[in-house]
Symmetry: C2
Subunit: 271 residues, 2 copies
């Protein structure tokens, strides 16, 4: 048993799609979330900058003495997981390995699609993880830099002509490659699931990296006997680096429920 909280972070609020699943699977756990809303998005930045920002995000979460850190961000997971694991004595989980396992399980024909931010695709992290699990799998990867701004502007519902056009353009080569599993490699993308699913067709499995990661974390904590093991519902705390004003509106999109949460602004550059 370990009553300490789980620390979760993302470049912004997309990681709340993982928090939603963590809270569903482990309602008794205390969760501390940090969204770096003052510096979002990370996906177009350089590797150096992503690592520098991620180190500060982890340092902030570690001030809560967490038992584990969850990187609920495709970009940071793909770019900085190894660095963060090396530098921290507690478990640090990213979204790449759980998604790679899910993709290796899901594909029948050995052709897997991957969409993510520029930084995620540049890293090659998903390809390496999938190759280790299922050698010879053919991965068709596509950077989709406009999807995060579209989601953050509420443009993700079927019938939205811009979202449908952009998704179709990005996914054309992926569909062409004949994949039967597609990794939605960014925690913003589950909101585009309906549009992506309609474009790819019902025979393609869509893999939500945040949800896969949440399952993975729950399993790992169980194995290590690290669950909180209390009967009551855990406490959820939210921190951001920009104004807290817009938090409730955006957070409710990603959490899928109204949030009247404790949310506090911090200066991330102090960490």
């Amino acid at each position: 048993m370990d009553p300490r909280p789980i620390g979760v972070f993302d470049s912004g609020l997309g990681g709340l799609t993982a928090v939603r699943e963590l809270a569903r699977l482990m309602p008794e756990e205390d969760l501390v979330y940090f969204g770096d809303t003052g510096r979002v998005p990370y996906g177009g930045r350089s590797r150096d900058t992503i690592i520098r920002y991620a180190r500060q995000d982890v340092a902030f979460l570690r001030s809560f003495d967490p038992k584990a850190i969850v990187i609920a961000c495709g970009t940071v997971s793909a770019t900085a997981l190894d660095v963060l694991q090396r530098e921290n004595s507690i478990p640090v989980f990213g979204v790449v390995e759980p998604a790679a396992h899910a993709a290796a399980r899901a594909t029948g024909n050995g052709r897997v699609g991957l969409i993510g931010t520029k930084a995620s695709i540049r890293s090659g992290a998903y390809e390496r993880a999938i190759e280790a699990l299922r050698p010879g799998t053919e991965v068709t990867a596509k950077a989709c830099p406009l999807l995060v701004p579209l989601v953050e502007n509420g443009r993700f519902r079927p019938g939205d002509p811009v979202a449908e056009q952009v998704v179709g353009e990005y996914l054309a080569p992926v569909r062409e490659a004949g994949v039967d599993a597609l990794i939605l490699g960014c925690t913003h993308y589950p909101l585009l699931r309906d549009i992506v699913g309609a474009y790819m067709g019902p025979s393609v499995s869509l893999i939500d990296v945040g949800a896969q990661c949440a399952h993975w974390v729950a399993e790992q904590l169980d194995r290590g006997s690290l669950r909180a093991g209390r009967p009551d519902a855990g406490r959820r705390r939210y921190f951001v680096s920009d104004s807290t004003e817009d938090f409730a509106a955006l957070a409710s999109i990603f959490l899928g429920e109204d949030v009247s949460a404790e949310v506090e602004r911090i200066d991330i550059t102090q960490y």
Copy 2:
């Protein structure tokens, strides 16, 4: 005569559209440009955060002992100009006042359109400036949060279905209002000039805030006898807060010419 450089900054590289015009009008001036590429974009952030970032941007430029600061960013100009002017003993120029003058001159029917980032539109700065110059002018303003990501992803050319669709959606109420002048209130937007011009029609004057600001700065420096007054071409130095790798490619889009410039990365949080 004043041989000191002019400091110019923007949240990213859009401000280079103003640098281009400054360099054309005053080729003899030394220019120091800072683009906050590690924290771009500013347009969706809160007023507090924009002011905090802008103060650091100015502090960095002041380390070069400039004779004037040019805010080549619609968001910062609309949000933080008064604060920055109050805190600095040298002239600080923004894009709002020059654009307001240009709009007041350009409109015949007293109906002016305005597009910009969320923060620029929220500020009400353009409306106040236009009202002071031409009382009773009707301003139809529209926040266009997707235009910056579109431009930064190279989606600004006529024929691009996404750019045309998004521009049309944003501008529909502005065209409907019957404006005869439209302020392109963000230094990214000149790249969308062809699409915007085609949608609005030839009778609507398009006002490029960066170019207007450059003319304004040249006039003000002339009046104050602050021009460098040397025969040679001035030196241009560029600084960014993220990797310098992608600078040349993006910068050449905004400057309209190939850049093989000196560019250096700095840590803006130290200022």
